[in-house]
């Protein structure tokens, strides 16, 4: 049933079915999300700049999600020797890098009016910047080695070693006193974010993940084709 997650030909078949509805769904949700963002209330302190959040937070979540997916696929790839997982790693890494970059740039733009500075060396910001560096190293490692097996396995092991950064990012706001605000949505019992802001945020997150998913599907399909024709 979930064979499309590990088998290239099944993945191709599944992707062909799902791609067009996915694009349609994504555009609908993205438009709905943008409208919701437009209608959402202004913050009484921050004014209009609070709307940067609707880009900043989803891209941060997706940067982490992408890395987690790569970690899972690396484990699968090393343990069960499945070539598809290396295809996924290669296809998905630039997407994660772009999400991290969007997160950092939007955060920087947000920080200037609120904190009065483009950049502070606080734990959350620094660990996300290191995540970007890790993504870049993964992309470079993939271009470094001539031999296919070495390239794939080295990248996969590096992804595994680099995954220690994920909990550091997640808990950096709890472990160190930082300027960055602590988690406000994931506190399930009582989210400290107002429902009128939570709704557009969640819709935008779904839209962002669909965009990421569509690009990932296209990139994986392209990578499968390249390998077939080599």
């Amino acid at each position: 049933m979930f064979g499309f997650l590990i088998n290239p030909s099944k993945f191709n078949k599944f992707a062909d079915i799902i791609l067009k509805p996915l694009i349609l769904l994504c555009s609908v949700i993205l438009i709905a999300g943008l409208i919701l963002v437009y209608l959402s209330p202004l913050d009484y302190q921050q004014g209009l700049t609070v709307k940067i959040m609707y880009i900043h937070v989803p891209s941060a979540w997706l940067a982490l999600l992408t890395y987690s997916i790569m970690t899972i696929y690396s484990v699968i790839g090393i343990a069960f020797k499945m070539p598809f997982s290396f295809i996924v790693n290669k296809a998905v890494a630039p997407i994660g890098a772009v999400f991290t970059l969007i997160c950092l740039i939007s955060g920087s733009l947000w920080g200037k009016p609120i904190w009065g500075t483009w950049w502070v060396w606080d734990a959350r910001l620094t660990s996300v910047a290191i995540l970007l560096l890790i993504y870049l190293i993964i992309i470079f490692l993939d271009k470094t080695f001539e031999n296919k097996e070495v390239r794939e396995k080295t990248t996969a092991i590096f992804i595994l070693i680099g995954s220690v950064n994920l909990p550091i990012i997640k808990f950096s706001v709890d472990w160190w006193n930082t300027l960055h605000q602590p988690a406000s949505v994931s506190k399930l019992s009582s989210p400290s974010i107002d429902i009128s802001m939570l709704q557009p945020l969640l819709v935008m997150t779904i839209a962002f993940s669909l965009i990421g998913l569509i690009i990932a599907i296209l990139r994986i399909k392209a990578e499968i084709l390249i390998r077939k024709n080599r």
Binding site: L133, I134, F140, T144, F145, E146, E149, V150, I157, F158
Partner: protein, 223 residues
């Protein structure tokens, strides 16, 4: 009995190679001192200023200098096949890596210890900072040796992109520097930070033989 003799022989060989290569190790130390001079020229010779940032500069330059000897870690033994021959005489790759890390620690990192008091003198560091520096460097350099081992074995077949090995060491040396330099902050708890450093060293000593051996086997398969 034979096994211990083999390990002893391995160290004897490393020691001989160390004495043949002693110039390159002192070149690393020279690089370290020259970088300190460059820093002082670039920042200006204001004594108070240098005193406050001296420790950080010394630590970052120590990390940078330790990436210089990265390519010597396995490359020669790998290229001429000594690793395979030693393995065929009954020592697993994991143990070879472990011994290599220890010998790198003893023969490459420990010589740096003689440079630390001199460097601290140049920055007029207070005496307790020098003690802390020496103490944290002994533990931190063991972690650096583990990191160098992983990075060097990862790049055994990398013939084009030399800098990526150093980048990987620098990336993972970030926590080492955070905790080592953090010891000197006023409100920090010396004991707990030292425990964290020792814990990290033990974790890396556990991980890196496994990871490096996996990389070495991978490289041998595709040599």
């Amino acid at each position: 009995m034979f096994f211990i003799k083999k390990i002893f022989l391995f160290f004897k060989r490393e020691l001989k190679l160390f004495f043949r290569n002693i110039v390159s190790i002192f070149s690393n130390i020279l690089f370290f001192f020259l970088s300190i001079f460059i820093f002082v020229f670039a920042l200006g010779a204001d004594e108070q200023n240098l005193k406050s940032i001296g420790l950080g500069i010394i630590w970052s330059l120590l990390v940078l200098s330790s990436t210089l000897s990265l390519r010597k870690f396995y490359e020669e033994d790998f290229n001429n096949g000594v690793l395979v021959i030693i393995h065929m005489r009954g020592i697993s790759y994991e143990l070879i890596v472990f011994l290599k890390i220890l010998s790198h620690f003893l023969f490459v990192q420990v010589p740096f210890l003689i440079s630390i008091p001199v460097a601290s003198l140049l920055f007029n560091l207070p005496i307790y900072e020098v003690y802390n520096l020496i103490f944290t460097f002994i533990i931190g350099s063991l972690i650096l040796s583990c990191l160098s081992s992983m990075s060097a074995s990862m790049n055994l077949l990398n013939k084009a992109n030399f800098s990526i090995g150093g980048i990987i060491v620098l990336l993972f040396s970030v926590p080492v520097i955070i905790f080592s330099v953090g010891i000197n902050e006023v409100d920090s708890d010396f004991k707990s930070l030292i425990n964290i450093l020792i814990g990290m060293a033990l974790i890396f000593l556990g991980i890196s033989p496994w990871a490096s051996a996996a990389f070495i086997k991978l490289a041998l398969r595709n040599k």
